[in-house]
Protein backbone atom coordinates (compact mmCIF):
# COMPACT_ATOMS: atom_id res chain seq x y z
CA UNK A 1 0.00 0.00 0.00
CA UNK A 2 2.95 2.35 -0.58
CA UNK A 3 2.21 5.81 -1.93
CA UNK A 4 4.26 5.02 -5.02
CA UNK A 5 2.15 2.00 -5.84
CA UNK A 6 0.06 3.09 -8.84
CA UNK A 7 -2.66 0.53 -8.27
CA UNK A 8 -3.22 2.02 -4.85
CA UNK A 9 -4.61 5.22 -6.37
CA UNK A 10 -8.34 4.72 -6.01
CA UNK A 11 -10.62 5.27 -9.01
CA UNK A 12 -12.70 7.63 -6.90
CA UNK A 13 -11.85 9.29 -3.63
CA UNK A 14 -13.95 11.80 -1.69
CA UNK A 15 -12.34 13.52 1.27
CA UNK A 16 -14.31 15.59 3.75
CA UNK A 17 -17.02 16.45 1.24
CA UNK A 18 -19.73 18.71 2.60
CA UNK A 19 -22.75 20.05 0.77
CA UNK A 20 -25.71 22.05 1.99
CA UNK A 21 -28.80 23.17 0.10
CA UNK A 22 -30.41 26.30 1.47
CA UNK A 23 -28.82 25.85 4.89
CA UNK A 24 -29.72 22.18 5.10
CA UNK A 25 -26.67 19.91 5.34
CA UNK A 26 -26.96 16.94 3.03
CA UNK A 27 -23.36 15.74 3.05
CA UNK A 28 -21.20 16.65 6.02
CA UNK A 29 -17.55 15.67 5.86
CA UNK A 30 -18.11 12.54 3.82
CA UNK A 31 -15.10 10.28 3.11
CA UNK A 32 -15.21 7.53 0.54
CA UNK A 33 -12.72 5.48 -1.45
CA UNK A 34 -13.52 3.19 -4.33
CA UNK A 35 -10.50 1.17 -5.52
CA UNK A 36 -10.08 0.56 -9.24
CA UNK A 37 -12.22 -2.29 -10.53
CA UNK A 38 -14.36 -2.71 -7.46
CA UNK A 39 -18.09 -2.40 -7.10
CA UNK A 40 -19.59 -0.36 -4.30
CA UNK A 41 -23.27 -0.31 -3.47
CA UNK A 42 -24.60 2.63 -1.48
CA UNK A 43 -27.71 2.16 0.60
CA UNK A 44 -29.58 4.78 2.52
CA UNK A 45 -32.96 6.14 3.34
CA UNK A 46 -34.89 8.11 0.77
CA UNK A 47 -33.76 11.74 0.75
CA UNK A 48 -30.56 11.06 2.66
CA UNK A 49 -28.41 12.31 -0.21
CA UNK A 50 -27.45 9.27 -2.28
CA UNK A 51 -28.12 10.97 -5.59
CA UNK A 52 -26.32 14.06 -4.34
CA UNK A 53 -23.32 11.87 -3.48
CA UNK A 54 -23.27 10.35 -6.95
CA UNK A 55 -23.50 13.77 -8.59
CA UNK A 56 -20.45 14.88 -6.63
CA UNK A 57 -18.43 11.94 -7.94
CA UNK A 58 -18.86 13.02 -11.57
CA UNK A 59 -18.69 16.74 -10.85
CA UNK A 60 -22.32 17.63 -11.48
CA UNK A 61 -22.35 19.23 -8.06
CA UNK A 62 -19.44 21.10 -6.54
CA UNK A 63 -18.81 20.44 -2.85
CA UNK A 64 -19.00 23.40 -0.47
CA UNK A 65 -15.81 22.01 1.04
CA UNK A 66 -13.72 18.89 0.63
CA UNK A 67 -12.05 17.17 -2.34
CA UNK A 68 -13.31 14.91 -5.08
CA UNK A 69 -10.56 12.97 -6.82
CA UNK A 70 -10.87 10.76 -9.87
CA UNK A 71 -7.80 8.68 -10.57
CA UNK A 72 -5.89 10.88 -8.13
CA UNK A 73 -6.85 14.15 -9.85
CA UNK A 74 -8.81 16.74 -7.91
CA UNK A 75 -11.58 17.44 -10.44
CA UNK A 76 -12.21 20.97 -9.16
CA UNK A 77 -8.59 22.08 -9.44
CA UNK A 78 -8.45 21.49 -13.20
CA UNK A 79 -10.01 23.48 -16.06
CA UNK A 80 -13.54 22.84 -17.29
CA UNK A 81 -12.17 21.18 -20.44
CA UNK A 82 -9.98 18.82 -18.45
CA UNK A 83 -12.97 18.04 -16.28
CA UNK A 84 -14.88 17.07 -19.42
CA UNK A 85 -11.97 14.81 -20.39
CA UNK A 86 -12.23 13.13 -16.99
CA UNK A 87 -15.99 12.73 -17.42
CA UNK A 88 -15.45 10.70 -20.59
CA UNK A 89 -14.28 7.90 -18.35
CA UNK A 90 -17.71 7.78 -16.69
CA UNK A 91 -21.05 6.35 -17.59
CA UNK A 92 -23.95 7.46 -15.46
CA UNK A 93 -27.55 6.36 -15.43
CA UNK A 94 -29.99 8.69 -13.76
CA UNK A 95 -32.78 7.87 -11.37
CA UNK A 96 -35.50 8.97 -13.80
CA UNK A 97 -33.62 8.07 -16.96
CA UNK A 98 -32.93 11.67 -18.01
CA UNK A 99 -33.35 10.77 -21.67
CA UNK A 100 -33.11 13.62 -24.17
CA UNK A 101 -36.70 13.99 -25.24
CA UNK A 102 -35.83 15.76 -28.46
CA UNK A 103 -34.15 12.56 -29.64
CA UNK A 104 -35.24 9.00 -30.36
CA UNK A 105 -34.09 6.11 -28.18
CA UNK A 106 -31.45 5.23 -30.76
CA UNK A 107 -30.11 8.79 -30.89
CA UNK A 108 -30.02 8.90 -27.12
CA UNK A 109 -27.85 5.81 -26.87
CA UNK A 110 -25.66 6.78 -29.81
CA UNK A 111 -25.12 10.32 -28.46
CA UNK A 112 -21.84 9.59 -26.64
CA UNK A 113 -20.65 7.39 -29.52
CA UNK A 114 -21.28 10.06 -32.12
CA UNK A 115 -19.75 12.75 -29.98
CA UNK A 116 -16.69 11.08 -28.58
CA UNK A 117 -15.68 8.35 -31.02
CA UNK A 118 -14.93 8.02 -34.72
CA UNK A 119 -17.10 4.95 -35.09
CA UNK A 120 -18.77 4.52 -38.47
CA UNK A 121 -22.53 4.80 -38.84
CA UNK A 122 -22.80 1.03 -39.08
CA UNK A 123 -20.64 0.47 -36.00
CA UNK A 124 -22.74 2.96 -34.04
CA UNK A 125 -25.92 1.25 -35.18
CA UNK A 126 -24.60 -2.15 -34.11
CA UNK A 127 -23.45 -0.88 -30.72
CA UNK A 128 -26.84 0.74 -30.08
CA UNK A 129 -28.62 -2.49 -31.00
CA UNK A 130 -26.25 -4.44 -28.76
CA UNK A 131 -26.91 -2.13 -25.77
CA UNK A 132 -30.67 -2.32 -26.27
CA UNK A 133 -30.38 -6.09 -26.47
CA UNK A 134 -28.57 -6.10 -23.13
CA UNK A 135 -31.40 -4.24 -21.38
CA UNK A 136 -33.95 -6.49 -23.10
CA UNK A 137 -35.48 -3.77 -25.25
CA UNK A 138 -34.41 -4.80 -28.74
CA UNK A 139 -35.61 -2.89 -31.77
CA UNK A 140 -37.02 0.21 -30.09
CA UNK A 141 -34.43 2.59 -31.62
CA UNK A 142 -37.03 4.66 -33.46
CA UNK A 143 -39.32 5.24 -30.49
CA UNK A 144 -39.41 8.56 -28.66
CA UNK A 145 -38.80 8.70 -24.90
CA UNK A 146 -42.39 9.85 -24.32
CA UNK A 147 -43.65 6.55 -25.75
CA UNK A 148 -41.84 4.55 -23.07
CA UNK A 149 -42.82 3.54 -19.56
CA UNK A 150 -40.80 4.75 -16.59
CA UNK A 151 -39.00 1.43 -16.27
CA UNK A 152 -38.22 1.35 -19.98
CA UNK A 153 -36.82 4.88 -19.84
CA UNK A 154 -34.59 3.89 -16.96
CA UNK A 155 -33.28 0.90 -18.89
CA UNK A 156 -32.60 3.03 -21.98
CA UNK A 157 -30.72 5.45 -19.72
CA UNK A 158 -28.73 2.47 -18.47
CA UNK A 159 -27.99 1.46 -22.06
CA UNK A 160 -26.79 5.01 -22.83
CA UNK A 161 -24.53 4.94 -19.77
CA UNK A 162 -22.75 1.75 -20.83
CA UNK A 163 -22.59 2.51 -24.58
CA UNK A 164 -19.03 3.88 -24.44
CA UNK A 165 -17.82 0.99 -22.25
CA UNK A 166 -16.70 3.43 -19.56
CA UNK A 167 -14.12 2.74 -16.86
CA UNK A 168 -16.33 4.02 -14.07
CA UNK A 169 -20.04 3.29 -13.89
CA UNK A 170 -22.50 5.22 -11.75
CA UNK A 171 -25.97 3.76 -11.48
CA UNK A 172 -28.65 5.68 -9.59
CA UNK A 173 -31.33 3.17 -8.63
CA UNK A 174 -31.15 1.22 -11.91
CA UNK A 175 -33.71 -1.38 -10.90
CA UNK A 176 -36.24 0.67 -8.96
CA UNK A 177 -39.70 0.12 -10.36
CA UNK A 178 -38.69 -2.82 -12.55
CA UNK A 179 -40.42 -6.18 -12.41
CA UNK A 180 -38.38 -9.07 -10.90
CA UNK A 181 -37.44 -10.53 -14.28
CA UNK A 182 -36.10 -7.28 -15.69
CA UNK A 183 -34.38 -6.54 -12.39
CA UNK A 184 -32.63 -9.88 -12.61
CA UNK A 185 -31.72 -9.21 -16.25
CA UNK A 186 -30.16 -5.88 -15.33
CA UNK A 187 -28.25 -7.45 -12.46
CA UNK A 188 -26.88 -10.01 -14.91
CA UNK A 189 -25.80 -7.20 -17.25
CA UNK A 190 -23.93 -5.52 -14.42
CA UNK A 191 -22.32 -8.82 -13.43
CA UNK A 192 -21.36 -9.55 -17.03
CA UNK A 193 -19.86 -6.08 -17.45
CA UNK A 194 -17.85 -6.62 -14.31
CA UNK A 195 -16.45 -9.91 -15.57
CA UNK A 196 -15.52 -8.60 -19.02
CA UNK A 197 -14.40 -4.99 -18.58
CA UNK A 198 -13.65 -4.84 -14.85
CA UNK A 199 -15.05 -1.33 -14.46
CA UNK A 200 -15.24 0.51 -11.20
CA UNK A 201 -18.90 0.82 -10.23
CA UNK A 202 -20.96 2.74 -7.73
CA UNK A 203 -24.56 1.62 -7.60
CA UNK A 204 -27.35 3.11 -5.56
CA UNK A 205 -30.24 0.88 -4.77
CA UNK A 206 -32.96 0.21 -2.25
CA UNK A 207 -33.05 -3.43 -3.26
CA UNK A 208 -30.90 -5.46 -0.86
CA UNK A 209 -30.98 -8.51 -3.07
CA UNK A 210 -29.55 -6.48 -5.93
CA UNK A 211 -27.01 -4.95 -3.57
CA UNK A 212 -25.66 -8.30 -2.44
CA UNK A 213 -25.57 -9.59 -6.01
CA UNK A 214 -23.43 -6.84 -7.51
CA UNK A 215 -21.38 -5.48 -4.60
CA UNK A 216 -17.80 -6.02 -3.47
CA UNK A 217 -18.67 -3.66 -0.67
CA UNK A 218 -21.91 -2.33 0.71
CA UNK A 219 -22.01 1.12 2.31
CA UNK A 220 -24.69 2.83 4.31
CA UNK A 221 -25.11 6.59 3.94
CA UNK A 222 -26.62 8.27 6.94
CA UNK A 223 -26.66 11.83 8.26
CA UNK A 224 -24.24 13.07 5.63
CA UNK A 225 -21.57 10.42 5.96
CA UNK A 226 -20.74 6.84 5.05
CA UNK A 227 -21.40 5.12 8.37
CA UNK A 228 -20.79 1.51 7.46
CA UNK A 229 -18.69 0.09 4.65
CA UNK A 230 -18.42 -3.71 4.61
CA UNK A 231 -18.23 -6.68 2.25
CA UNK A 232 -21.76 -7.93 1.49
CA UNK A 233 -21.57 -11.01 3.72
CA UNK A 234 -20.37 -8.96 6.71
CA UNK A 235 -22.94 -6.27 6.02
CA UNK A 236 -25.73 -8.81 6.00
CA UNK A 237 -24.44 -10.38 9.19
CA UNK A 238 -23.78 -7.09 10.94
CA UNK A 239 -25.62 -6.51 14.20
CA UNK A 240 -25.27 -2.74 13.99
CA UNK A 241 -28.79 -1.47 14.74
CA UNK A 242 -28.80 0.84 11.71
CA UNK A 243 -27.97 -2.08 9.43
CA UNK A 244 -30.44 -4.40 11.10
CA UNK A 245 -33.18 -1.80 10.76
CA UNK A 246 -32.31 -1.34 7.11
CA UNK A 247 -31.97 -5.03 6.26
CA UNK A 248 -35.20 -5.92 7.99
CA UNK A 249 -37.02 -2.85 6.75
CA UNK A 250 -38.20 -2.13 10.27
CA UNK A 251 -39.13 1.51 10.79
CA UNK A 252 -39.74 1.04 14.51
CA UNK A 253 -36.12 0.02 15.03
CA UNK A 254 -34.93 3.16 13.30
CA UNK A 255 -35.01 5.85 15.99
CA UNK A 256 -35.04 8.80 13.62
CA UNK A 257 -38.01 7.75 11.58
CA UNK A 258 -40.20 6.19 14.18
CA UNK A 259 -43.15 8.53 14.35
CA UNK A 260 -45.51 5.63 15.03
CA UNK A 261 -43.76 4.66 18.23
CA UNK A 262 -46.14 5.71 20.99
CA UNK A 263 -44.66 4.06 24.06
CA UNK A 264 -42.21 6.29 25.94
Amino acid sequence: MGAADVTAVPAVRLTGVSKAFGGKNVLSGLDLEVPVGTSLVVLGKSGVGKSVLLKHVIGLLKPDSGRVEVGGVDIWSVSARERDQIRRRFGMSFQEGALFDSMTVGENISFPLRRHTRMSVAQVRDRVAECLELVRLPGIEAKGPSELSGGMRRRVGFARAIALKPEILLFDEPTTGLDPINTDALVRVIQKLRESLRPTAITITHDLKVAFQVADRVALLEAGRIRIDLPPADFEASDDPRVVAFVQGDSAMDEETAPLEVSG
Binding site: L60, D84, A98, L99, F100, D101, R115, H116
Partner: protein, 242 residues
Amino acid sequence: MLEGFGRFCELLYRTILGAVRPPYDLKALRDQVVRVGVDSVPVVFLTTLFTGAVMALQTFNGFARFHAEAYVGSVVAISMLRELSPVLSGLMVTGRAGSAMAAELGTMRVTEQIDALVSLATDPVQYLFVPRVLAGIIVLPMLVVLGNAMGIGGGYLVAVKILGANPVIYMDNTFQYLRMNDLWSGLIKAAFFGGLLSLIGCQRGFDTEGGAEGVGRSTTTAVVIVSLAILVSDFFLTKVLF
Protein backbone atom coordinates in the same frame (compact mmCIF):
# COMPACT_ATOMS: atom_id res chain seq x y z
CA MET B 1 -30.20 42.72 -10.74
CA LEU B 2 -26.41 43.11 -10.66
CA GLU B 3 -26.07 39.40 -9.98
CA GLY B 4 -28.27 38.69 -12.99
CA PHE B 5 -26.06 40.85 -15.17
CA GLY B 6 -22.97 39.03 -13.94
CA ARG B 7 -24.56 35.70 -14.81
CA PHE B 8 -25.51 37.09 -18.23
CA CYS B 9 -21.89 38.12 -18.88
CA GLU B 10 -20.56 34.74 -17.74
CA LEU B 11 -22.89 32.86 -20.08
CA LEU B 12 -22.18 35.29 -22.91
CA TYR B 13 -18.48 34.55 -22.48
CA ARG B 14 -19.05 30.80 -22.38
CA THR B 15 -21.28 31.03 -25.47
CA ILE B 16 -18.61 32.91 -27.41
CA LEU B 17 -15.98 30.40 -26.33
CA GLY B 18 -18.27 27.56 -27.31
CA ALA B 19 -18.91 29.13 -30.71
CA VAL B 20 -15.25 29.44 -31.63
CA ARG B 21 -14.12 26.08 -30.27
CA PRO B 22 -14.80 22.80 -32.03
CA PRO B 23 -16.96 20.80 -32.38
CA TYR B 24 -19.03 22.93 -34.76
CA ASP B 25 -22.55 21.61 -34.87
CA LEU B 26 -23.93 22.87 -38.19
CA LYS B 27 -26.89 20.52 -38.12
CA ALA B 28 -28.07 21.91 -34.79
CA LEU B 29 -27.62 25.45 -36.11
CA ARG B 30 -29.69 24.67 -39.21
CA ASP B 31 -32.42 23.10 -37.06
CA GLN B 32 -32.60 26.17 -34.85
CA VAL B 33 -32.63 28.59 -37.80
CA VAL B 34 -35.57 26.69 -39.25
CA ARG B 35 -37.32 26.48 -35.90
CA VAL B 36 -36.95 30.17 -34.99
CA GLY B 37 -37.77 31.24 -38.54
CA VAL B 38 -40.81 29.05 -39.02
CA ASP B 39 -42.12 29.89 -35.57
CA SER B 40 -41.83 33.61 -36.17
CA VAL B 41 -42.61 34.36 -39.81
CA PRO B 42 -46.41 34.51 -39.45
CA VAL B 43 -46.41 36.81 -36.41
CA VAL B 44 -43.75 39.11 -37.85
CA PHE B 45 -45.66 39.17 -41.15
CA LEU B 46 -48.92 40.28 -39.55
CA THR B 47 -47.41 42.64 -36.98
CA THR B 48 -45.38 44.65 -39.45
CA LEU B 49 -48.09 44.67 -42.12
CA PHE B 50 -50.60 46.22 -39.74
CA THR B 51 -48.07 48.53 -38.15
CA GLY B 52 -47.17 49.92 -41.58
CA ALA B 53 -50.87 50.35 -42.30
CA VAL B 54 -51.56 52.14 -39.03
CA MET B 55 -48.48 54.34 -39.50
CA ALA B 56 -49.86 55.46 -42.85
CA LEU B 57 -53.28 56.21 -41.40
CA GLN B 58 -51.92 58.13 -38.45
CA THR B 59 -49.26 60.15 -40.23
CA PHE B 60 -51.70 60.99 -43.02
CA ASN B 61 -54.15 62.25 -40.44
CA GLY B 62 -51.48 64.34 -38.71
CA PHE B 63 -49.55 65.53 -41.75
CA ALA B 64 -52.72 66.69 -43.49
CA ARG B 65 -52.92 69.45 -40.87
CA PHE B 66 -49.87 71.15 -42.36
CA HIS B 67 -50.30 69.93 -45.92
CA ALA B 68 -47.44 67.47 -45.78
CA GLU B 69 -49.34 64.37 -46.98
CA ALA B 70 -46.69 63.88 -49.64
CA TYR B 71 -44.25 62.74 -46.99
CA VAL B 72 -46.33 59.90 -45.58
CA GLY B 73 -44.50 57.29 -47.67
CA SER B 74 -41.09 58.52 -46.46
CA VAL B 75 -42.09 58.58 -42.84
CA VAL B 76 -43.55 55.08 -42.97
CA ALA B 77 -40.47 53.69 -44.70
CA ILE B 78 -37.93 55.39 -42.45
CA SER B 79 -39.79 54.45 -39.26
CA MET B 80 -40.22 50.87 -40.32
CA LEU B 81 -36.64 50.30 -41.43
CA ARG B 82 -34.90 52.09 -38.60
CA GLU B 83 -37.16 51.40 -35.68
CA LEU B 84 -40.47 49.58 -35.87
CA SER B 85 -39.54 46.55 -37.88
CA PRO B 86 -36.50 45.55 -35.74
CA VAL B 87 -38.15 46.31 -32.39
CA LEU B 88 -41.50 44.72 -33.16
CA SER B 89 -39.86 41.68 -34.75
CA GLY B 90 -37.60 41.38 -31.71
CA LEU B 91 -40.57 41.50 -29.34
CA MET B 92 -42.61 39.05 -31.40
CA VAL B 93 -39.75 36.56 -31.75
CA THR B 94 -39.19 36.86 -28.01
CA GLY B 95 -42.80 35.85 -27.41
CA ARG B 96 -42.54 32.91 -29.78
CA ALA B 97 -38.99 31.61 -29.86
CA GLY B 98 -37.38 33.17 -26.77
CA SER B 99 -40.07 31.80 -24.50
CA ALA B 100 -39.86 28.41 -26.25
CA MET B 101 -36.11 28.31 -25.57
CA ALA B 102 -36.65 29.09 -21.89
CA ALA B 103 -39.31 26.39 -21.65
CA GLU B 104 -37.23 23.81 -23.49
CA LEU B 105 -34.04 24.34 -21.51
CA GLY B 106 -36.04 24.69 -18.29
CA THR B 107 -37.64 21.31 -18.88
CA MET B 108 -34.24 19.84 -19.66
CA ARG B 109 -32.94 21.24 -16.38
CA VAL B 110 -35.70 19.91 -14.15
CA THR B 111 -35.72 16.48 -15.81
CA GLU B 112 -31.93 16.21 -15.39
CA GLN B 113 -31.30 16.19 -19.15
CA ILE B 114 -28.74 18.96 -18.67
CA ASP B 115 -27.02 16.87 -15.98
CA ALA B 116 -27.09 13.99 -18.44
CA LEU B 117 -25.37 16.16 -21.07
CA VAL B 118 -22.65 17.07 -18.60
CA SER B 119 -22.26 13.43 -17.56
CA LEU B 120 -21.73 12.62 -21.25
CA ALA B 121 -18.78 15.06 -21.26
CA THR B 122 -20.69 17.64 -23.27
CA ASP B 123 -20.57 21.34 -22.42
CA PRO B 124 -24.27 22.24 -22.18
CA VAL B 125 -23.62 25.89 -22.98
CA GLN B 126 -21.82 25.00 -26.17
CA TYR B 127 -24.33 22.33 -27.08
CA LEU B 128 -27.53 24.24 -26.29
CA PHE B 129 -26.75 27.98 -26.29
CA VAL B 130 -24.47 28.34 -29.30
CA PRO B 131 -26.87 27.12 -32.03
CA ARG B 132 -29.77 29.07 -30.52
CA VAL B 133 -27.89 32.33 -30.12
CA LEU B 134 -26.38 32.10 -33.60
CA ALA B 135 -29.81 31.27 -35.02
CA GLY B 136 -31.23 34.39 -33.34
CA ILE B 137 -28.45 36.54 -34.81
CA ILE B 138 -28.99 35.09 -38.28
CA VAL B 139 -32.77 34.88 -38.40
CA LEU B 140 -33.80 38.23 -36.94
CA PRO B 141 -32.24 40.35 -39.71
CA MET B 142 -33.95 38.12 -42.26
CA LEU B 143 -37.27 38.61 -40.51
CA VAL B 144 -36.64 42.34 -40.43
CA VAL B 145 -36.14 42.44 -44.19
CA LEU B 146 -39.50 40.72 -44.48
CA GLY B 147 -40.94 43.13 -41.91
CA ASN B 148 -39.63 46.13 -43.85
CA ALA B 149 -41.34 44.94 -47.01
CA MET B 150 -44.57 44.21 -45.14
CA GLY B 151 -44.57 47.56 -43.36
CA ILE B 152 -44.01 49.52 -46.56
CA GLY B 153 -46.59 47.32 -48.26
CA GLY B 154 -49.14 47.92 -45.50
CA GLY B 155 -48.57 51.67 -45.72
CA TYR B 156 -48.92 51.57 -49.48
CA LEU B 157 -52.20 49.67 -49.31
CA VAL B 158 -53.72 52.13 -46.88
CA ALA B 159 -52.43 55.23 -48.67
CA VAL B 160 -53.37 54.10 -52.15
CA LYS B 161 -56.50 51.99 -51.61
CA ILE B 162 -58.09 53.84 -48.71
CA LEU B 163 -56.72 57.37 -48.71
CA GLY B 164 -56.57 57.68 -52.47
CA ALA B 165 -52.90 58.59 -52.89
CA ASN B 166 -51.34 58.28 -56.34
CA PRO B 167 -49.54 54.90 -56.40
CA VAL B 168 -46.57 56.05 -58.48
CA ILE B 169 -45.96 59.21 -56.50
CA TYR B 170 -46.38 57.35 -53.20
CA MET B 171 -43.76 54.76 -54.15
CA ASP B 172 -41.38 57.44 -55.39
CA ASN B 173 -41.87 59.29 -52.20
CA THR B 174 -41.23 56.17 -50.15
CA PHE B 175 -37.75 55.63 -51.52
CA GLN B 176 -36.78 59.23 -52.20
CA TYR B 177 -35.35 59.99 -48.77
CA LEU B 178 -34.24 56.51 -47.75
CA ARG B 179 -30.52 55.94 -47.18
CA MET B 180 -28.60 52.68 -47.05
CA ASN B 181 -27.82 53.53 -43.47
CA ASP B 182 -31.52 53.26 -42.55
CA LEU B 183 -31.53 49.66 -43.69
CA TRP B 184 -28.20 48.78 -42.09
CA SER B 185 -28.94 50.31 -38.72
CA GLY B 186 -32.18 48.33 -38.58
CA LEU B 187 -30.42 45.10 -39.50
CA ILE B 188 -27.67 45.62 -36.95
CA LYS B 189 -30.29 46.24 -34.27
CA ALA B 190 -32.09 43.10 -35.38
CA ALA B 191 -28.98 40.96 -35.12
CA PHE B 192 -28.31 42.38 -31.67
CA PHE B 193 -31.88 41.74 -30.49
CA GLY B 194 -31.76 38.23 -31.96
CA GLY B 195 -28.64 37.34 -30.00
CA LEU B 196 -29.98 39.01 -26.87
CA LEU B 197 -33.35 37.29 -26.85
CA SER B 198 -31.81 33.86 -27.48
CA LEU B 199 -29.14 34.27 -24.85
CA ILE B 200 -31.54 35.48 -22.16
CA GLY B 201 -34.16 32.89 -23.15
CA CYS B 202 -31.55 30.13 -22.86
CA GLN B 203 -30.17 31.52 -19.61
CA ARG B 204 -33.56 31.68 -17.89
CA GLY B 205 -34.25 28.11 -18.91
CA PHE B 206 -30.79 26.89 -18.00
CA ASP B 207 -30.99 28.38 -14.50
CA THR B 208 -34.48 27.05 -13.79
CA GLU B 209 -35.12 25.81 -10.27
CA GLY B 210 -38.11 24.08 -8.78
CA GLY B 211 -39.86 21.64 -11.11
CA ALA B 212 -42.62 22.32 -13.58
CA GLU B 213 -43.66 25.46 -11.75
CA GLY B 214 -40.11 26.76 -12.11
CA VAL B 215 -40.26 26.19 -15.86
CA GLY B 216 -43.37 28.37 -16.07
CA ARG B 217 -41.64 31.07 -14.05
CA SER B 218 -38.55 30.96 -16.25
CA THR B 219 -40.64 31.31 -19.38
CA THR B 220 -42.51 34.38 -18.21
CA THR B 221 -39.48 36.10 -16.72
CA ALA B 222 -37.58 35.45 -19.95
CA VAL B 223 -40.23 37.30 -21.95
CA VAL B 224 -40.40 40.20 -19.50
CA ILE B 225 -36.64 40.63 -19.18
CA VAL B 226 -35.95 40.36 -22.90
CA SER B 227 -38.73 42.81 -23.77
CA LEU B 228 -37.31 45.37 -21.37
CA ALA B 229 -33.76 44.70 -22.55
CA ILE B 230 -34.81 45.22 -26.17
CA LEU B 231 -36.55 48.51 -25.49
CA VAL B 232 -33.72 49.87 -23.35
CA SER B 233 -30.89 48.73 -25.61
CA ASP B 234 -32.84 50.06 -28.60
CA PHE B 235 -32.43 53.57 -27.28
CA PHE B 236 -28.68 53.24 -26.85
CA LEU B 237 -28.22 51.47 -30.17
CA THR B 238 -30.15 54.21 -31.92
CA LYS B 239 -27.92 56.75 -30.24
CA VAL B 240 -24.80 54.94 -31.40
CA LEU B 241 -25.99 54.05 -34.88
CA PHE B 242 -27.58 57.55 -35.49
